[in-house]
Every structure is written in C-alpha cells, then in structure tokens.
Assembly symmetry: C2
Homo-oligomer: 521 residues x 2
Amino acid sequence: MTEILIAGEWKAAVATGSFKAHNPATRAELRREFPVSSWSDCDRALDAAVEAARLLRGVSGEKLAGFLAAYADNIEARADEIVALANEETGLPVKPRLRDVELPRTTTQLRQAAAAAREGSWTQAVLDTKSNIRSHFAPIGPVVVFGPNNFPLAFNGISGGDFAAAVATGCPVIAKAHPLHPATSRALAECAVAAVKSSGLPAATVQMLYHLSNEDGLRLVADPRVGATSFTGSRVAGLHLKAAADKAGKPIYLEMSSLNPIVFLPGALRERGDALATETADSGLAAAGQFCTSPNLLFVIESPEARRLIENLVRLYSERPSGTLFSEAGLRGLARGVERLVEAGARALTTASADAGQRYCYPNTVLRVSGVTFLAKGEPLQHEAFGNATTVVVCAGVGELRAALASLEGNLTGSIYSSGTGEDDDLYDGVAEILRSKVGRLLNDKMPTGVALSPAMNHGGPYPSTGHPGFTAVGIPRSMVRFGALQCYDAVRPERLPAALQDTAPTAEMWRIIDGAWVQG
Amino acid sequence: MTEILIAGEWKAAVATGSFKAHNPATRAELRREFPVSSWSDCDRALDAAVEAARLLRGVSGEKLAGFLAAYADNIEARADEIVALANEETGLPVKPRLRDVELPRTTTQLRQAAAAAREGSWTQAVLDTKSNIRSHFAPIGPVVVFGPNNFPLAFNGISGGDFAAAVATGCPVIAKAHPLHPATSRALAECAVAAVKSSGLPAATVQMLYHLSNEDGLRLVADPRVGATSFTGSRVAGLHLKAAADKAGKPIYLEMSSLNPIVFLPGALRERGDALATETADSGLAAAGQFCTSPNLLFVIESPEARRLIENLVRLYSERPSGTLFSEAGLRGLARGVERLVEAGARALTTASADAGQRYCYPNTVLRVSGVTFLAKGEPLQHEAFGNATTVVVCAGVGELRAALASLEGNLTGSIYSSGTGEDDDLYDGVAEILRSKVGRLLNDKMPTGVALSPAMNHGGPYPSTGHPGFTAVGIPRSMVRFGALQCYDAVRPERLPAALQDTAPTAEMWRIIDGAWVQG
C-alpha cells in the first residue's frame, strides 16, 4: 500500500480501505494500491500543519521562493516519468497536452508564485505613517487543497495553481490528491518533498492524502486548525463542502461548474460563420470537453447563417474522433447529463456512436433547443453535462436572446463573437451588458478555453460557478490573497512590526501604499 | 405612520405592524410611529435597486463622489437637528460624542468615500497589455446594509461606513435602519434623498426600511436580486443571516462580536499600573461600554501589581457614574451576560448598584476569574456581555497566560501593554505571536476603542468576530472591495472596455497595475 505524506515523511496510512486507478484508454486497473485515509490521518496532518504554519511565519519570501523554484526544477528533471504516469492515469495525450502544455504551465505557475513570494507586493501593505497604523495580508494558516480530475499537473492539489498560491503566501498545504491520478500525484509529491528539504522549509509545509470518505472531507474543511480550503470539482461535492465550511466560519474557495456561454451575433456568422464552427469544435472537443471553461452553451438568433453554423457543428462533431474520458463515472455522468438535457426539451442533432474500443468514450454531441424552451426549462437545461457535448440555443430574436442570457446562472466565462465591420456594435452593447454580470471573464471573438497565466486573469465568477465573485483561482499574485488574513498593527513599536510593514521595505521590488501613494521599495 | 423610502420617494409601507422608539434616558415612548415592513416592501425595494444598479454602471466616479459630498454637506446643514434626534433615541450625549465626534466621523467617511470614488484606485485595475487581458473590481449589485444600535450616525445603514463604501463602489443600497433610532435614520435619509436629486443619481440608489420580521430579513439577504449584504450587530442575528446568505451563495460581510482582549505585561504594570487602570476605565466605560471594540477581557499574571490594577479598576468602576444603555433589551442582555459569567466561575468584584433614575442603566462591573477557570470554561466565559462590564483573567504564570490566549475565539482587536524600558520584550514576542492570529488589529500600549478612519485600518478579524478574515468594515478604500465583483476582459476590443481598463486611465490620480508595475494616471 502506497504511503501518505505526513510532516515531510512517507508514512503508512491508517486506512479505512484502498483503491486503484484505471487507465481510461484501456479500462485496465493499474497495479499500485493507494489508501483511503481515516480521520486519524487527517488529524495527524492537521497537527503537523499547525506547527508548520507557526514556523512559516518566520520564513522570508525569498526562502518560500527558493522552495517553489526548486520544486519546478525537480518536476522538470522528472518530466518524462511524470507525464507518462499522468498519461496512463488520465488518458490525456503525452504530446502536446501533457508534455508541452500542462507540465510547462505547472512549472510556470510555481515560478510565478516564487517571484511573487520574493517580491512581496501581494500582501497589499498599507502604511499610514502619521497615525502609525499599518496593515497587510498575512498567511491565513493551513490550507486544504482539493484538486480536480481534469488537470493532473496544473490543478493538482500538490502542484497546481492553488498549491502554488497558498505556499507562496506562507501557508502549509494539505493536498487531497484526486483518486483518478494518485501515482502522478505521488511522483509530484516526491519532487515537492525533495524541494522542501533542499530549501529548508518546515517539513510539514507540504502534505498529501490520496483519498478520504465524504464525511472526513466535510470534517476536514470545518476543522478549527484549518485556515482555508480551496476546491475545484463538481458542483454537488463543492456545495457539500461549502455548507460544512460556512457553518464553521471557515473560508472556502470553490470552482464548481460553468457552461461558458458563447453568443454568436448575426454579423459575425455572416462574416466568418464556417471558421467559427471550426473554432468552436476545436475548443469544445479539446480534451473531450473536460475543461472548466469548455463551451457548453451557444446562443444564436434564428437565421440561415445560424442554421449553417449548426450544420457545420454537427458535421465537425460527427467527423472528429471522440476523446477519451477520465473515468467510468465521468462517462456515466456525461451520458446522464445529455439524457437530462433531452428530457428537458433539447434535441440531439448528432447520431454517430463513438468508436470507443476499450476507452471511456462518449460520442461528440451537439444538441439544439429553442430560446422559448430554454426560458421555460432554464434549471435542467443549465445542468452541466461535463464533456464533449454542446447545446445550441436558437433564439427567435434579440429580445429572446437577451431574456435567455438574463436567465443564466453565474459562469466562469462568457464570449461574444461579433462582426469586424461594426454591424454588430449596437447588438453587442445590449448583449454584453447582460452577460457581463453573469460571468467572471468576458471574451470578445475568442474561445474561453486556454486560461492564460496572466496577472489580469480572472478564473472565477458569480455563484454557482464559484462561491464568491471577488476571488480568482488563476492569476498570480491576485489568486494569493485568498490565502491571506488582513492583519493590522496599531501603534505597534517599529522593531515589533513584520518586515513588510517597517518604514523600509524588505525588498527593492516590493510595492506598498505609503500615505496614499503606491511606492516601490 | 412614517413612510419608507422606496425608489427615491417616501411611500406608505405595506406594514405588518408598527413600533415606536424610546428615550433611553427617561424610558419614555417617543411619539412617532414607524412601520414594520412586509415582504412586499422588500420586494419593491429590490426591484428598484436592480434597475438602479443597472443605471449606476454607466455613472462616473465623479458623479458618485458628487452625491457623497452633497450628502455630507446636507448632514452638516441639519447637524443640530440630527444630533438632537440621535440623543433622544440613544441617550448618547450631544457633546462631545454626537456633535463633535460621531457626526464629523460620519461626514468624513462620506467625503473619504467620495475621494475614493473620484480617484478610482479601489478597483485594483490590472492591465496585461501584451495579452490584452484586463481586470478590475466592479460593483457587485444591490447591497443591503443592516446598521447596529450603537452608532446612530457613523454606522447607520443609511449613512455609515458600509453605506459610504457601497455607494462609492457604485452599488445601490437598501438600508435596514435600526429600530432603536428610526427618527434619526429618517432625518439622515432625507439628507440622502436631497443629495441623490441634486447630484442626478438614479432615484433608487438609496432606499430605506425601518424594520422587518426576522423571516423577511433572512429572505432578503438570500434574494437573487441582492449583490451582497453587510451587517453589524449581535452574533446571534449575524449567524442566522450568514446561514441564509451562505446557503444562497450570496456574499455577506458581518461584524458580530468581540471581547477585545488586553494583556498587561508585568513590566508595564510596575512602570505605570495606576495610569493603566485609568486608561482602561476611560476606554471600557466610554458610552457604557457599548462599542464593538470595548475592552471586555483583561489578562494579567498574578503579582502585587496585578492585584493593585484590579483594586484600581474596582475603585474607578465603582466611583464613576454608570452610562445609559440603549434599550431595555440591552439592559436585560447585559445583566444576563454578567450572570452567565458568574455562573461560569467569574466573581463580580464591584457591588455598587447603579444610580439609574429612570434610565436604562447597569452598574459598572469588574469581574475576576483565574486562568485555570478561564481555560476550563472558555466558551461561557467568552460569551459577550455587551456594555460596561469587564473581566480580568488572572493567570498563575506565563504558560497559563499563553494557553489562555491560545484558547481565545477570533476578535476584532487585541492589545498588549508593555514596559517602555525593554524588560517585557521577551515576554512580548511570545504573547504577540499567539494573539496576532486571534485578532484583526493588534495594538501596542493603546486601547482598542477609537477606530481611526485610516486607509490602513482593519475593523475586521477572524471568525466569529466577522465572517471572513480578509475584509474590513472601516478604512477606505479597502472596505470598498467587499462590494466589488472581479471582472475580467479577455481580448475585448478597446472601445468596448470600461474607462478604467482602457490604455489611458480615466483620471490622472488613478493607480493601476500595468504590465506588472503600479502606475498613476
């Protein structure tokens, strides 16, 4: 049985059971056995994390940066092995996805977090020197990170964006690896442990469990020793964790579900409708649609060009091979999701069955529903069918389109495609006004997949896409503030202030607000 | 029956009942009658607020600032009348408290908010020009503000810090006035309405109800039309509202309760113990202890100086007149709170009964409890007795002191008094380390009452003093971010970007992060 990572050491779990991962491309069970941890494992990890959090308060940003950079190096040194494991456990292709996109994304995030930790501006230090009142964000305490199934490296609880942001903030992390890719998580955690050692951080800065009962998960996020939790995954699981954390008064940051609506305005379809169909299929079928920002809901106004877009989509979705899904549960969920959409009044336009072989696989699916039906059955038609299925909502006119958009739940993203000649400009304003309040990121003439690692990124949005519209999971340093507690010092003697709040900044690069103006260094 | 403020007009409430305020100094019922609103009133206000929020998205910071500044002017023009009403409804003295402290604080907050709205830096605009990804905080939507009983002007839902922050952000406010001072709220709201008109803001930017059933309050904070809620008041009410808002996925910012622990280190007591007793009595008895930051819990290590501090406190609390409490319910709550402390093992050291006359009044009370008992009975001994009662925890030694501090719930503030000669320096570090994680604001040799209107202020803290340790209710512009939703624009054409995210900043004063550096203008 594979050991769990507690306080810097690989230790036997006090297990309540065990599990093995499967290869989604063959359905074959993989050999390695992993434990389902008991509460006792959580309890050990929490105690160690509290002590690590205490020690980390005395650790410089420079030293945190050293760990993050060393970790990135270690991952690169074992890149081929890690990518092979991830490929075996997720079915995602080694190239380009894992080796050329997701692994570099992972190490880039770690290095961006290192730079932010070193530089220190994320703390938003405000100095009122006249009153001698000073405040900044300081580490919130132990952070539990629940990673999702769909990014075994870049969103992994032990190596992804939440992990990087939390550690860069000075918080120890208890990673809950996703049970669909435990061996990948194990290899990453080994890289992390080596970096913890070489950089001299407290041993329990990084800990990892592979699996928990639902009950222990709920108990974990509500534990008094926890500072905050971040979670990426399904809405059902996210809402259960949210309820448990909320009740205990514990911050929890959730990324739960999103249909990522796209509006194709008439001028854009007239201008470049065929190209837009291809663009949509490229985005919607990437990784079999298993992205948080996959376009699952398209809006058009009834017209010959709209009909042609749909025909093109049906053709492309039928022609292209269906991707491999991560698991049997994912396959069942997608099939059930599409059934629900059909029950609610959508019509499946694609008929081809997937050439699955042994893979977990579902046929690429395009559905169509009228704007009237969408307005009448908004709740079931906005139920996420996670994967390679996309619904086109055909509205009778602009009024119906606006009403349909106004009925949307909160989403991570929303896109509007418009003509380059200005003929959609009036329509754009009316549509954008409504869509803006429904999404965290508004795109123009661009697909939502591909969440750039930009400091201006918002990978967040209104409930229920996340739990709070003020936070982002991607985009360093902004994502770090989730793991900060606001701490003020009032009339505290200079020598007792943290370095970041003393008159002289700890680094020449750090930006702070001093008496009303941003000042560097 | 007094009318409610809906969509810019004074309208008859659809009332489920009525109430009258009392003069706390005489217990006399005041003549004016106010409605308890039905859900129908909330519903009207919400519909109007949604429309106002839509219109406000097109309003400049300059125009918001115009409203806030005009409102401050209007309050000053009616200052004597407003202060007289507040005095009649709360018993707080006209001078210095209401006329010289709280009213100027109120207008200062409104003008600080005006300056922040005009300047725009609160939005934290981040421009990644290379990727053309840009993001900032934008108004979250209609904000419901529940004001507390203890600051009829500076924390009033219709005029206080939350109101100012929300409007400066561009959010319409539905104020829930506190039923203990409805006529004061009415006069303030009249000033607000006049300013809405003169500045040309949407009529429903400011709305006000006087009273609601508990059920309608819970329904209000969870309503889909609400953007966010802020609440200042009791923990019981706050936690009920929190549960309702959390369940609906609606942000709620709460300021609920705080004992504001103060540690007197041995050197400080040796050096200036008598002065510290006076300082404590000054702070703890101000406004009969009815401050969020009133010092309710003092920690000392057993010594002759600690005993002398307690004797001094008993003398001062016994000698000084007992202040007027806001209401009969407040008086009952305080009496019951002190009873609970005694039941849990604290001993009341003061015996004098209050010379109440007709006032709502409770004798100034000092209690004492051992560190051992505090550790054994932490829950009941940390139950807030809101008012002029203070408990001294006498610890046998440093270890017990540290353990007692480690057992504290989250508080708004914590203070440490230490010697000026350095003899407490070692002790300080060990104590501050523990207290730091328990409070939002750490003070040195200073009482927690008097929450400066500084941009560096944190009037927030760990749960259950608030609902989230990352937000502050005082300190503009930081308090404004509570009412912002993070909105990103990805590949959006320049002319479609909001002014704050275009290449050229809308004002010369605005600070933004452009390609990694803070830039003004």
